[in-house]
């Protein structure tokens, strides 16, 4: 019945919806089952991060930076402190750099584990969620052992880290990597190559590379579209150029390039690379250095501005800091990756089925904390 006309209907998805990650509201104009227009409403978690930055000094901002992207707090801190260090122009002990890389990569694994688990939940698979959170707890234990907190660490400081690694951390971390790598196979068996999962995700919500670049999509989502770009390799910061690892670019082994399955699977493979970086960093960890030797008592950068990007689990995290010479930033703008990734949804989501929209939304792995800031 090709000439059957249905009336357009507006469906509200969210702000409290089981399949939206956090408090996102999508105003969907539907034609039958097909999405004609998406109007995303964000800001339900706007916590005035940039205002706080104009009121607090550089050290005190770190707890708030954590709370922006709460799934990858270490990566956020890492980006922020590197931006401030660039502004201050200070040298960091090598051990600190190693510790930071270990923490960032562990947190990348933890963040991707949440992405995997909740994506399974969105699609309708509950079991992978239990598996990924089980393994994530082991990383959180490592974090708690080092920094004292499970989720929001305030661990990476300007010029150093808050604590040196505790006794037994290195062994425990090696133990974790050895435990974790075989688990990836488990996720593959459970979810990645499950036929139902593939039917729900492969060839669904394809983002072509040109569209991805146009909308400023970055990180795993960009690499899933087949663009070979990773800041850790292409604009090496910290000590990432010392390690051997591969940038994961989707190859379309199931479905096509840029579909939901590719976005999902890039994360699975990235965890393996992160684990390999952690392993190399642990092996090369320099000993006997004071991790706090370069921490400045008072951070007072010269007048000027800096824009610094780093690779967050969700994409390119940029900090634009303007200093007026005082110990409080004049302006701090955060270019949050998920903000740009989500903005493409109104373009990409058009013409999808409503159920496929959920598949798209879960696969771009948004964190509302950093979208709304």
């Amino acid at each position: 019945m090709p000439d059957l006309k249905t009336e357009e209907m507006v469906v509200q998805m969210g702000p409290q919806h089981p399949a939206t990650h956090g408090v996102l509201r999508l105003e969907i104009t539907t034609d039958g089952e097909i999405v004609r227009k998406i109007n995303p409403h964000i800001g339900y978690l706007h916590r005035c991060f940039e205002k706080h930055c104009e009121e607090l000094n550089y050290h005190q901002i770190i707890p708030f930076v954590d709370r922006c992207d709460y799934l990858a707090a270490m990566n956020n801190e890492h980006g922020y402190v590197m931006a401030v260090e660039k502004l201050l122009d200070i040298e960091i002990p090598e051990r600190v750099e190693y510790i930071r890389v270990i923490m960032s990569e562990l947190n990348r694994i933890a963040s991707h584990l949440v992405a995997l688990g909740t994506y399974g939940l969105d699609i309708g698979a509950i079991t992978p969620f239990l598996f990924t959170f089980r393994d994530r707890e082991k990383i959180l234990d490592l974090f708690e052992m080092t920094s004292g907190a499970r989720l929001l660490y305030n661990y990476i400081w300007i010029g150093g880290v808050a604590f040196d690694l505790p006794n037994g951390f290195v062994e425990k971390c090696f133990e974790f990597i050895d435990y974790f790598l075989p688990k990836l196979k488990e996720y593959d068996d459970l979810l990645s190559y499950n036929k139902i999962f593939i039917k729900r995700t492969a060839e669904v919500a394809i983002i072509p590379p040109a569209v991805a670049i146009e909308w400023g999509i970055t990180g795993p989502n960009l690499r899933a579209s087949g663009v070979d770009w990773d800041l850790r390799r292409d604009e090496p910061y910290s000590i990432y150029d010392k390690f051997e690892w591969d940038v994961i670019v989707a190859d379309g082994r199931v479905g096509v390039l840029g579909d939901s399955w590719s976005r999902y699977y890039v994360r699975v493979l990235e965890m393996e690379q992160s684990a390999s970086i952690v392993k190399q960093a642990l092996e090369g960890l320099p000993s006997d250095e004071n991790v706090k030797s370069a921490v400045p008592k008072k951070v007072r950068p010269k007048e000027g501005s800096v824009f610094f990007r780093s690779e967050n689990p969700r994409g390119e995290l940029g900090y634009y800091i303007i200093s007026d010479g005082s110990d409080i930033p004049y302006r701090l703008k955060m270019r949050s990756p998920a903000f740009c990734n989500l903005s493409a949804i109104s373009d990409v989501g058009e013409g999808l089925l409503i159920s496929d929209l959920v598949s798209l939304l879960g696969s771009i792995d948004i964190v509302l904390g950093e979208i709304d800031r």
Partner: protein, 163 residues
């Protein structure tokens, strides 16, 4: 229980019924999965394998109509506040609220400069238990559940409950 409220003293029927009702209520607290911010991740961790809140009969429900407990897990902003109120109103009686984390309790770290953050969710809906922490450990949340169960255990169908 509007009919019998405040009409009877404690007697054997009332207290037995109380015991039964409270037992039923406290051992199947179904929370609506109301994750807003960072605390939501810890709430998910509480539901996941290591802490497994199902042991206490707490099974997350996706709809407010099926829920009798709301865990406000995260920062409540002004834009969100009216939605919270609406979700709370959609829940069937008896309903309970746990304010999880500092943000929901009193605005948390955002109390001073957060122009868009509500300073405590109790401005919108009544709260039964405040769980501190930023975010609280899963154990803290479980302890909050146990405190709430204690509170339910003390309720009586024959007396009006303080809102």
């Amino acid at each position: 229980m509007g009919i019998i409220e405040n009409k009877f003293r404690d007697n054997v029927i009332i207290t037995s019924a109380d015991k039964f009702m409270n037992w039923a209520r406290l051992s199947s607290l179904w929370p609506i999965t109301f994750g807003i911010a960072c605390c939501a991740i810890e709430m998910m961790a509480t539901a996941a394998s290591r802490y497994d809140q199902d042991r206490l009969g707490i099974i997350p429900r996706p709809s407010p109509r099926q829920a009798d407990l709301m865990i406000v897990a995260g920062t409540v902003t002004f834009k969100m506040a009216s939605r919270i109120k609406r979700l709370y109103e959609q829940m069937p009686e008896p309903k309970y609220v746990i304010a999880m984390g500092c943000c929901a309790t009193s605005g948390g770290p955002y109390w001073q400069h957060g122009y868009h953050v509500m300073k405590g969710v109790d401005q919108v809906i009544p709260v039964d238990v405040y769980v501190p922490g930023c975010p609280p450990r899963p154990e803290s949340l479980l302890e909050g559940f146990i405190k709430l169960q204690d509170k339910i255990r003390r309720e009586s169908i024959a007396t009006t409950q303080a809102a």
